[in-house]
């Protein structure tokens, strides 16, 4: 019997664009403190699921329950393409945005805050680049900047969307350490990943998604050859002539 409420639960949740489902009828729970990898082929709905959790997408049907967590207690790392890297902002200033929950929009930035920022930069090995504009960084370095920012956010739930895309192995190793640190601190972490070996090595739970959940549970039981095969056969295109779905329920986010 579980003693406390889960972090996130999905009730027959369907998400999508333009009435076409991207995530189709998913039901299940993410426990507090879970370290969950979300895996699947392209177009399987992984990013969509994260977007719904963070509130950027409204469900087409079904329900998503955050059990009282405020959206400010969720830290979200989107796929990097959505940030304007040519913007003239320094690494330090960018990372310091992570302290928003303390300083707010107008609050001051005292020495203690500054120290926190440097701690975060140290944790990702970027102290030497603190003054550089973010546009001058490599892909891997910028990813570390975003991780440092995430660190400062001190969030209960952490969502990472393909955090290791186009990043070198040394950086990946460093960032994995950070993730395991978060897991150790009892934070709930969900990460969309493509590297199956990485998942097997570091993530205790996995959700295999192919629009519908193929398997969800402990990683070894999910990432079987049979399941992986089914996942590879997934057809990512929307069917323009699809009929209305038979199973349906009114949508509502808790």
């Amino acid at each position: 019997m579980k003693t406390h409420a889960p972090a996130i639960s999905f009730h027959n949740l369907t998400l999508g664009y333009d009435r076409h489902p991207a995530v189709h009828h998913i039901t299940g729970e993410v426990e507090r403190g879970d370290l969950l990898a979300i895996v699947g082929s392209n177009g399987a709905g992984k990013s969509t699921l994260l977007k719904a959790i963070v509130g950027e997408l409204k469900p087409l049907s079904g329900r998503l329950d955050l059990h009282g967590s405020d959206k400010r207690e969720i830290a979200y790392l989107p796929q990097v393409v959505e940030i304007d890297r040519s913007f003239p902002i320094s690494v330090f200033d960018c990372v310091s945005m992570g302290l928003w929950h303390e300083t707010g929009a107008f609050g001051g930035f005292d020495r203690a805050a500054e120290a926190h920022v440097f701690e975060a930069l140290e944790a990702v090995n970027l102290v030497g680049l603190a003054g550089r504009p973010v546009g001058a960084l490599s892909g891997g370095q910028f990813q570390r900047v975003l991780f440092a920012r995430l660190l400062l956010q001190d969030a209960k739930i952490i969502l990472l969307d393909e955090p290791f895309r186009a990043v070198d192995t040394k950086t990946i190793a460093d960032l994995i350490q950070l993730i395991e640190l978060w897991h150790g601190e009892g934070r709930t972490v969900l990460a969309v990943l493509h590297d199956i070996d990485l998942v097997r090595a570091h993530f205790p739970s996995t959700l295999l998604l192919a629009r519908e959940p193929l398997a969800w549970g402990e990683t070894p039981t999910v990432l079987t050859p049979v399941n992986l095969d089914r996942s590879r056969q997934f057809n990512e295109s929307f069917d323009a002539a699809a009929p209305v779905c038979a199973q349906d329920e009114t949508a509502e986010i808790a």
């Binding site: 963070v54 400010r72 979200y76 989107p78 959505e82 304007d84 003239p88 707010g104 929009a105």
Partner: protein, 288 residues
């Protein structure tokens, strides 16, 4: 030499007023220009110049050639267009630049139709737009007041505003200030533009807002630095333009903007951040 630079301002009150007016606008418009440029909204100033027409037309229809009525109407129209554009950009697939284009064109056509209803062909906008050489007390006060308000507001919303430009998703996830900040910024843009049009004319108002900001890109690598450079560049250009107009007998507005333009070209060549000449003659690389 110094004497030649200072003498026009000693001898003529209109030159002094022009200088003061230019100073005020050089403090308030360039920072806004920097942020507009970073949001890829550089053509907004020009669009606004057209978008305010229906407001001015309605002011004219209601109160005749009253500068106050037309300015108020113009401001309201500009604000409506800016807000509508901002709202649409935030809640539909249309992006900020396309959204603004759509609304300003709508506004302009509406304005042209309204003007033609009256039957008179007084060039409304021509009446509405002033000249830096004709700054009366009311206009000076207006520009100074708007400059103060803008600077203070910008200082207050600076952090959310920068984040809104750089990573709007993040801002939305950690704060409720995303939409209000955006809208406040739009209000500042329209306010500065309309006041600028009235006091200085379109060319100078839009030019002072944008050209120094664009040039500053070549001198600083953070937004605050760019703001500083753009303010100085704007004021220096105003001074040079005024003196040029005085000694060489050319219209003042274009002279000021050409001075801004000269600085822009110079910055492109020798600006320490990305100037073309530096890239052609790279310095020896460092040890690490």
């Amino acid at each position: 030499m110094i004497d030649a630079l200072v003498q026009p301002f000693i001898e003529f009150a209109f030159m002094r007023r022009a200088l003061v007016g230019s100073l005020a606008i050089s403090l308030t418009a360039p920072p806004i220009g920097v942020l507009l440029m970073l949001r890829r909204m550089s053509l907004m100033g020009d669009a606004m110049g057209h978008a305010i027409l229906p407001g001015a037309a309605i002011g004219y229809l209601l109160a005749g050639l009253s500068l106050f009525a037309m300015s108020l109407g113009g401001f309201a129209a500009g604000l409506a267009v800016a807000m509508a554009a901002g709202l649409v950009a935030r809640s539909t697939v249309i992006r900020e630049d396309a959204s603004l284009a759509g609304f300003y064109l709508l506004s302009l056509s509406l304005g042209v139709m309204l003007v033609s209803i009256r039957g008179s062909n007084v060039d409304l906008l021509h009446v509405l737009f002033g000249s830096v050489l004709a700054l009366d007390d009311a206009a000076l006060l207006l520009v100074a007041a708007i400059a103060s308000v803008s600077l203070v507001t910008l200082a207050v919303i600076y952090r959310p505003l920068v984040l809104e430009c750089f990573d709007p998703h993040f801002l939305r996830s950690v704060s409720r200030w995303s939409s209000p900040t955006h809208l406040i910024f739009l209000v500042l843009v329209v306010l500065n533009l309309v006041a600028g049009f009235q006091a200085l004319g379109t060319l100078m108002a839009v030019g002072i807002m944008l050209l120094p900001a664009i040039s500053a890109r070549f001198w600083a690598d953070d937004a605050a630095g760019m703001i500083g450079v753009s303010m100085v560049a704007a004021f220096a250009s105003s001074l040079i333009g005024l003196l040029f107009s005085y000694y060489v007998n050319v219209p003042t507005g274009p002279a000021v903007i050409l001075a801004c333009g000269a600085f822009y070209l110079a910055s492109m060549l020798v600006g320490i951040r990305g100037g073309v000449l530096w890239r052609l003659m790279p310095a020896k690389h460092l040890e690490a």
